[in-house]
């Protein structure tokens, strides 16, 4: 440890005497300017989270710059200046050299982030005082005009005690689950799972345990679905005569149905001309009886209108039904799906269909229709920890980041009902605003932690709320969260340390220039890992060409050591331009094949060719460096739990350990004076 400490101390002194700290004042200036000039919807509630977010983002950039450039510079610079001769001829093991370097870089990074953090926090304190007075002004202006006092309670809390701490319920297991509240006056059928048109909710059946795949191999099958339709009785007020529109041709009730693998959703609405291709989703007219029949054929069978091809890829299979606008309210009971084989054999799916939101974004939409049963989002605050509520605040708030859209000139109105486990309820009415974080005050006497059920309803006709699970927040009084900011900086530091370890690892075998290119490539690829996993072949080809280009550059640079700087920069620029052109060309070919000739290149539809399978395996060895960054904290300045921080720390420690071991192996077999 003494030797690792000595090497780390030298790396630290190197960083300090290279005057890396001169980056600190510009970083603080950049974060202040970025925060001042970035658009903000609601400075009272979003001001501090945005400032925290901006600060952490700037610090992340700093961590990347220092982590990659300085760390990658460390070992090659010692090799090239032959300082390594003096170091490795002492009783030092390669592991100690690598570990010492990484530790030193980490110390440099910690100091720089701490310095920027202190500056940033000073700025946040200044912002907080301004926000407090801004909230007081808003309160004085708005109180006489606001109908619902609940709207202003949160503003009042900010005015009195400063900005609120925010806790986000990400990955909440219990919400929001959207249900249709049929109300006590409902006289319709019971035991039915309902979905409402245009809310994105689907009825879903699992088909894994059915003989569908086996039967389809022998010939076409039929899926017979018994749907319940509730006609939309338009109870809206009749439009004024001047605004009346000519009556439209009645449209039959329609649904979209698809045979989809897990993680897949409806791609898009089929467009004319798309019939001449294999399809596994389509739009179906539902007869008045509600009996919908869908023919299913083998993957390779010629496509036809109203016929679904079974997905070729293996995996869990499901049938999803999405109600289109003309269908209004669509429901299904247990045992409403029947599979009929090519020889007339039948299989009954006895399970009750699930009601699921769209797979892609898990967005739920709560629609306001006075003519229909209310759609209600229900979620539970079971995760609230008592310590979050310390010290004893007199009030706290529950916030929702809502995507709300309402008809012009309509004052949106919504109701939120809080239900305690003992059944006691409290209802608050409020006016949600589009894209705003709506914060409701909930007094401590009613609830101070523990399970709580929240039901969110839209009360206005033609008014919808879009809500994501992550958008549910709890806000507490208590200032601009120093502790949480420090935790965020810690995560950024861990992130930078892992990048530094990557830089040191790479630099054990190559020159500084090639090392930076390689470390940068690893960083970029691991940062866009998720994007690549869900991208089309064209973008994968483009990314692949980039990789090839950079490898070619690296090889050229290895071969041409005598090249001066400008030819190197020219080679890099030229090859990257070429790679970008190839990527553009690949994308263009793919798009043209589809748009002009209606030909889908393999992989365009992910169900057919498992591109993602291929890419996933390529990407597995790459560390997902972004995993070290607390996305919520970065994006919205949300609180980070200590458990998450601990997990991030362990992950980073493991990552660094692996990288140090790899670096040791590479360094051990290297001729230092070669």
């Amino acid at each position: 440890m003494r030797r690792i400490g000595a090497l780390a101390l030298v790396a630290w002194r190197h960083g300090m005497r290279l005057r890396l700290w001169v980056l600190v004042p510009p970083a603080i200036l950049v974060l202040i300017l970025a925060d001042v000039y970035s658009p903000r919807f609601d400075p009272v509630f979003e001001g501090i989270p945005a400032a925290v977010s901006t600060s952490l983002l700037v610090m992340t950039v700093l961590a990347v710059v220092v982590g990659i450039f300085f760390a990658t510079y460390a070992i090659p610079s010692e090799m090239e200046s032959k300082v390594a001769y003096s170091v490795v001829t002492k009783p030092v093991r390669p592991a100690e050299v690598v570990a010492g370097k990484v530790l030193g870089m980490s110390l440099v990074l910690a100091a720089m982030l701490a310095a920027v953090g202190v500056g940033a926090y000073g700025y946040i304190l200044v912002r907080a005082s301004a926000i407090q007075s801004l909230a007081a002004e808003r309160l004085a202006e708005a109180r006489p005009r606001v109908a619902y006092a609940a709207d202003l309670n949160a503003v009042q809390a900010v005015a009195e005690s400063g900005p609120l701490k925010t806790y986000r319920y990400h990955e909440a297991a219990e919400g929001p689950a959207v249900t249709l509240d049929m109300g006590p006056a409902w006289r319709g059928p019971t035991g039915v799972q309902w979905v409402l048109a245009d809310t994105g909710m689907r009825l879903a059946w699992q088909l894994n345990d059915t003989p569908l795949r086996e039967w389809v191999n022998a010939g076409p099958c039929r899926l017979r679905v018994s749907l319940l339709l509730s006609p939309v009785a338009d109870a809206r007020p009749a439009p004024a005569a001047a605004e009346a529109t000519p009556p439209e041709t009645p449209v039959p009730p329609r649904v979209m149905a698809g045979l989809l693998l897990p993680g897949r959703d409806f791609n898009r609405e089929p467009t004319p001309g798309q019939e001449a291709r294999p399809i596994n989703q389509d739009v179906f007219d539902v007869p008045a009886s509600g009996e919908l029949e869908i023919t299913v054929v083998a993957p390779e069978a010629p496509p036809a209108k109203g016929v679904l091809n079974l997905p070729a890829a293996a995996g869990d299979l499901g049938l999803k039904v999405l109600a289109l606008k003309s269908a209004g309210l669509v429901g299904a009971r247990a045992g409403s799906l029947r599979i009929i084989g090519p020889r007339g054999q039948e299989h009954l799916v006895t399970a009750t269909p699930d009601v699921t939101p769209a797979e892609q974004r898990r967005r739920v939409i709560i629609a306001g229709r006075s003519s229909l049963p209310r759609e209600v989002a229900v979620f539970r605050f079971a995760e609230v920890k008592p310590q979050w509520l310390e010290p004893a605040d007199t009030a706290f708030e529950v916030g929702f980041s809502l995507d709300a859209w309402a008809a012009p000139n309509v004052q949106a109105e919504a109701k939120m009902t809080f239900v305690r486990p003992d059944g006691r309820q409290k209802a608050l009415l409020f006016h949600p605003e589009a894209h705003h974080s709506t914060v409701l005050h909930l007094d401590r006497e009613f609830w101070h932690g523990g399970p709580l059920e929240v039901r969110l309803e839209s009360l206005t006709d033609e008014d919808n709320f879009g809500l994501l699970p992550e958008s549910v927040q709890l806000r507490l009084g208590g200032g601009p969260y120093l502790w949480n900011f420090a935790k965020g900086i810690t995560c950024v530091w861990l992130y930078g340390t892992v990048l530094a370890a990557i830089g040191v690892l790479v630099s054990t075998r190559v020159s500084w220039f090639v090392g930076i290119l390689t470390a940068g490539l690893i960083f970029l690829l691991s940062s866009v890992r998720l994007f690549l996993l869900h991208s089309t072949p064209a973008s994968i080809i483009a990314a692949g060409l980039w990789i090839v280009a950079i490898l070619v550059i690296a090889i050229l640079l290895l071969l041409r050591k005598r090249w001066t700087l400008w030819p190197r920069i020219g080679a890099v620029a030229g090859l990257l331009t070429l790679a970008a052109f190839f990527g553009f060309a690949a994308t263009t070919v793919e798009k043209s094949a589809f748009e002009v000739w209606r030909v889908r290149l393999p992989g365009f539809m992910p169900d057919w060719v498992p591109w993602t399978f291929f890419v996933e395996r390529i990407m597995v060895p790459l560390p997902d460096v972004t995993a070290f960054l607390p996305a919520d904290t970065l994006s919205m300045g949300q609180a980070l739990s200590l458990a998450d921080l601990g997990a991030t720390f362990m992950l980073a420690a493991f990552g660094v350990l692996v990288l140090v071991v790899a670096g040791t192996i590479l360094l051990r077999n290297r001729e230092v004076a070669a």
Binding site: R2, R3, A6, Y85, T89, V672
Partner: protein, 312 residues
């Protein structure tokens, strides 16, 4: 248990290869060498003869293509070997952003010396190599070449090594520094250290080495004790003081009478180095300003070599 020889090589060969693995340069071919404890061994040779390659192989900085090298009976480059080793590179390859004190302290830490010991050792070594208090707190980037060599020597001695590998130790030093370096090398020998030095400055090697090996194009051409190798066996030289012209003529006549051929009979000249040192030291004494404190040259230097007959 008998301590193995400090350095031993058998058929040591190093071939540098190009990017594709093809042989490019045969830097060292079949070197058989052993260095005994307590001796000063000089590796001589022109540029590119394989001196530095030999030292790098003994340090584990490069790996042999074939053959074997051992240092104190172990493979080179292992922590066990490096613990007993001091190395002064051809140029002082040190962190230029560290100060003199920090440099010696850093290398002391690499040897696992405790803090108190490091402090004591740092002060002692910086005194020894003649770096004054102001120089100690300056970064190495501000050092002259001579100062860099001195701090390089200090780091090489930080662990009180049993074996010192000195690559061109007098390179970049002024005559005074050169002399001090040579004095120091002899001082270290008197402490029982083994020293392997490489140089192409023949006078330096001649002054301090017990044995030498001459390398040329990677091959060992000559190996033996300096005195034996330099001895001119068929020439006799007499040096004396207080000889009158008559006595001189009598000695010459006696020699000729005995059948000897007198090649030269003249007053010897001193070396330029001796003259320079005498002048510089006289100036320093006049100014009452010792050039440095505690330098081995001041107290521990052996008597200067006897003046020689320039032509004998």
């Amino acid at each position: 248990m008998i301590d193995p020889r400090p350095v031993e090589t058998q058929g040591l060969t190093k071939v540098y290869k190009d990017f594709w693995g093809r042989s490019k340069v045969h830097a060292l071919v079949g070197l058989d060498l052993s260095i005994e404890r307590g001796e000063i061994f000089g590796l001589l040779g022109p540029n590119g003869s394989g001196k530095s390659t030999t030292i790098k192989l003994l340090l584990g900085l490069i790996f042999p293509t074939s053959g074997k090298a051992t240092v104190f009976g172990h493979a080179p480059g292992t922590p066990t070997v490096n613990q007993r080793l001091g190395y002064l590179p051809e140029e002082s390859y040190l962190h230029r952003f560290l100060t003199g004190e920090e440099t010696v302290d850093f290398y002391g830490r690499l040897f696992g010396l405790p803090r108190q010991e490091r402090r004591r050792r740092t002060a002692e070594l910086l005194d020894l190599v003649g770096l004054d208090r102001r120089a100690r707190v300056r970064q190495l980037r501000e050092y002259s070449k001579g100062m860099s060599r001195r701090i390089g020597l200090a780091q090489a001695l930080v662990n009180d090594p049993d074996l010192l590998l000195l690559d061109e130790p007098t390179s970049g030093l002024d005559p005074l520094g050169t002399r001090e370096m040579k004095d120091l090398i002899l001082h270290l020998k008197s402490q029982g250290k083994t020293i392997l030095l490489s140089s192409h400055l023949l006078a330096d090697v001649q002054d301090v080495c017990d044995r030498i090996g001459i390398l040329d194009r990677g091959r060992l051409k000559e190996l033996g004790r300096v005195r034996d190798l330099l001895l001119v066996r068929d020439v006799f030289q007499l040096q004396a003081t207080g000889v009158t012209p008559q006595a001189r003529e009598a000695i010459l006549a006696t020699a000729r009478g005995a059948g000897a051929t007198v090649l030269s009979a003249e007053h010897p000249t001193t070396t330029l180095e001796e003259l320079f040192l005498r002048v510089v030291r006289a100036d320093a004494e006049t100014a009452h300003a010792p050039r440095r404190a505690g330098a081995p040259g001041a107290q521990d230097a052996p008597a200067p070599p006897a003046p020689t007959d320039g032509n004998a």
